[in-house]
Symmetry: D2
Subunit: 181 residues, 4 copies
Amino acid sequence: MARVFTINGSPSPTSRTAALLRDVVGHLRAQGHQVESLNVRDLPASDLVNARADAPEVAAAIASIASADGLVVATPIYKAAYSGLLKIFLDLLPQYAFEQKTVLPLATGGSFAHLLALDYGLRPVLSSLGARHIVGSYFVLDKTIRLLPDGTVELDGEIEPKYRAAIEAFTDSLRRHAPTH
Amino acid sequence: MARVFTINGSPSPTSRTAALLRDVVGHLRAQGHQVESLNVRDLPASDLVNARADAPEVAAAIASIASADGLVVATPIYKAAYSGLLKIFLDLLPQYAFEQKTVLPLATGGSFAHLLALDYGLRPVLSSLGARHIVGSYFVLDKTIRLLPDGTVELDGEIEPKYRAAIEAFTDSLRRHAPTH
Amino acid sequence: MARVFTINGSPSPTSRTAALLRDVVGHLRAQGHQVESLNVRDLPASDLVNARADAPEVAAAIASIASADGLVVATPIYKAAYSGLLKIFLDLLPQYAFEQKTVLPLATGGSFAHLLALDYGLRPVLSSLGARHIVGSYFVLDKTIRLLPDGTVELDGEIEPKYRAAIEAFTDSLRRHAPTH
Amino acid sequence: MARVFTINGSPSPTSRTAALLRDVVGHLRAQGHQVESLNVRDLPASDLVNARADAPEVAAAIASIASADGLVVATPIYKAAYSGLLKIFLDLLPQYAFEQKTVLPLATGGSFAHLLALDYGLRPVLSSLGARHIVGSYFVLDKTIRLLPDGTVELDGEIEPKYRAAIEAFTDSLRRHAPTH
């Protein structure tokens, strides 16, 4: 079973991005993966803004990434790109922090007009961090995610297969790249 | 004369980006333009991280942008793109905050390998803010900027003409788009 | 009055891209501009594929660009980017072929999911050609363009204002950058 | 052993791109892979320019891609992006032509300033074709490739390890994703 670290780049405490990510985590745990999660907004704001990679909570997150096999990187789309909050955290990572890792990019947005922001905007950043395998990006329209009272989400029926396929591509890559003992 | 607002997206208090920007401001003032400057890192960190567009200092910066004719947007290049700190501020702006404005994108970086990060990464974000005219991006290699003891900069002789041309393209656009009274 | 050169990058003789471009040309001529048009597909195929910039018809197109004040660059969106046919022609141009020129990027596509292909994909290429002013890109959904029997087009009412605004931004820039005599 | 199809997007018959690709093919064959190669420039020019996906030679290339496990996509960098010749061929492929395939993007260019053209420009196009795994892009400076009289190439010593690593990442992915019988 793989170790997965999830990064939520939404500044909102009640975002669809966060809810979607919780759902992904549920699927990963159900498959036996060990998952640790970070909301970038929970890190000390002044450490983020002043780029303190050695502040305790930032350093702990960096260490978790170092020991993870896979990463789920989730962001809302703002101004035709990933959130600044996500990037301010990625900027704190060592140059090849994603080496030997599989990455699943996820985004939520208000319009399909933002779809290419993941592949044109986020993917080159993830590549520069040395990611071995960035599986197909998964973009969800806000209106196709319903937040239920218990904090879980319900996705529109028609997008469910693509959602399952995105998670499956990620776990398949984790399995195929697992260290052979 | 035009009103210009400069935005420095470097998290470092002693960055080459900041020094270069001070030099640009000197040139603009010498031409009679009125310049106001923002270091994003001087805004309250928790307002940035929590996306509080109505916090007093953030709101004041947004108002200054609204009344500016031109913007200079400067960033170091990290992880093949603009800094997260710059983007976290841009994310706080209204959707068409750059409408009717001329924008000069500036970056400093350690290698020419980062050159395209401005045109491929930053420009689409500036476009999404509705900028009327984004003049040619100007990228400076760190090693061609010398920080002098008095806080000013000296640029390598061979890049001086391109630097002048970038500023001239910006002020030329400001002049041509000046409101006709 | 300005000289405008239009470039159609669609490989199809009956494309919506071509029809839209004819409509743009009509507007420009009605404003008194002098317009010359190129369908890249009309150039000799072997000159394009073998990169013969000095072949007579290619050289004539390059000369027309050199003497133009403004360019309209139109392309369908294929595989999340501009057409290869458009790029094969742009590859034949001298390095700074668009210097001192205003450019209007236009695209047609089947889905809003392709919208960012212009700003992320085409704009950096136009920038590399030295364009002075690339005005706001204009993207039209195929289904909002109706081809009329006489070869003209009719646009959906709701997009008409944005279409007019895109052309107006282009002609406004041409006027403001006109050589002063 | 895997089936690999290589695509050369250079319009020049004596290009460094072609020579580098021949060298890659040599390494792949030495490892026992079965390799088929296409120079896009050898396809009938009028079929490319008129987008005839069903022309015999184009259809044969599409069929070879369909049966390949991996693809090497090589291009010179022109105007801050992949060549138009490469894209004109990619435009002819079915929408998900790269599904279930591993892709190695290769480029040659005159300056490191073009490095990001692969990750920002080409990779989103390869993603749109449904590629399962696009391994790390490999960019080679023209001046580090020497063409030897026998048509082979010699790479500068210092880049040799990165070159080997790029090929190894590709063949490792091919092996890990091999159909299990």
